[in-house]
């Protein structure tokens, strides 16, 4: 939620070690986005299945929000305006 409120990625999402393990090195497919890249994990279902699913959903949702704002027409009057736009992105007009 800190990112949705308008705070930078580097101080919010990119401080999570779990998200970092999923995103770096950059995965080319969904199957590559795992906490352990070298081998398919067999144990610890909670981590590799449930937490992974949650993290992937989190990353994708934030990515879609970012994409929505970047593809809309808006006029920046400063950093504050951009942050406000992102925090209430649902009010942006969509092409109909």
């Amino acid at each position: 939620m800190a990112w949705h409120m308008g705070n930078p990625l580097s101080q919010t999402l990119f401080t999570s070690l779990y998200l970092d393990r999923l995103l770096w090195p950059e995965p080319k497919t969904l199957a590559q986005a795992r906490f352990e890249r070298d081998e398919i994990p067999e144990g610890n279902l909670m981590l590799h299945s449930i937490l992974r699913a949650f993290c992937l959903g989190l990353i994708k949702a934030c990515g879609l929000v970012h994409q929505t704002i970047c593809t809309e027409h808006y006029y920046e009057v400063g950093q504050t305006q951009y942050i406000e736009n992102r925090s209430v992105y649902v009010t942006l007009a969509k092409p109909m």
């Binding site: 800190a2 101080q11 401080t15 070690l17 949650f54 929505t68 969509k94 109909m96």
Partner: protein, 129 residues
């Protein structure tokens, strides 16, 4: 080998996964505005009370976060402190976000220009008060 999880924790985890799924559905990008997306925001709102009530069964894990990851970013800016917000602030913001999401699609239900103006003004006053 699976780890046994008690009923309370299992319900808490399922609630959070369901909320994630509905949030993802709500922010999907489409070419046209689709009124049914307000249903996804509404379902997100339904999951919030259980999310709040089950938070007490979790334990914060500070070791899962680090500002050292910033060193890898392509930026000359020195590492900045992690932004931490309280659960209550995050919960209130998420609730408002979901409410705005359900209400934003009401704009499709107007009939006539003056009615749209009244509706937008009313929503604006509700959102920013």
């Amino acid at each position: 080998m699976t780890t046994a999880v008690n009923e309370t924790l299992r319900n808490a985890i399922i609630c959070r996964l369901e909320l994630r799924r509905q949030l993802l559905s709500a922010v999907q990008i489409g070419e046209i505005v689709e009124p049914h997306r307000s249903l996804s925001w509404g379902r997100c709102l339904e999951h919030l009370p259980r999310l709040r009530s089950t938070t007490q069964f979790g334990t914060p894990v500070e070791q899962s976060f680090s500002t050292k990851i910033q060193r890898r970013l392509a930026s000359s800016v020195p590492p900045r402190p992690m932004v931490k917000i309280s659960f209550n602030d995050a919960y209130d913001y998420l609730t408002k976000l979901c409410q705005y999401g359900t209400e934003a699609y009401d704009i499709l239900n107007f009939h006539g220009g003056p009615n749209l103006l009244v509706r937008c003004t009313h929503r604006h006053l509700l959102m920013f008060n």
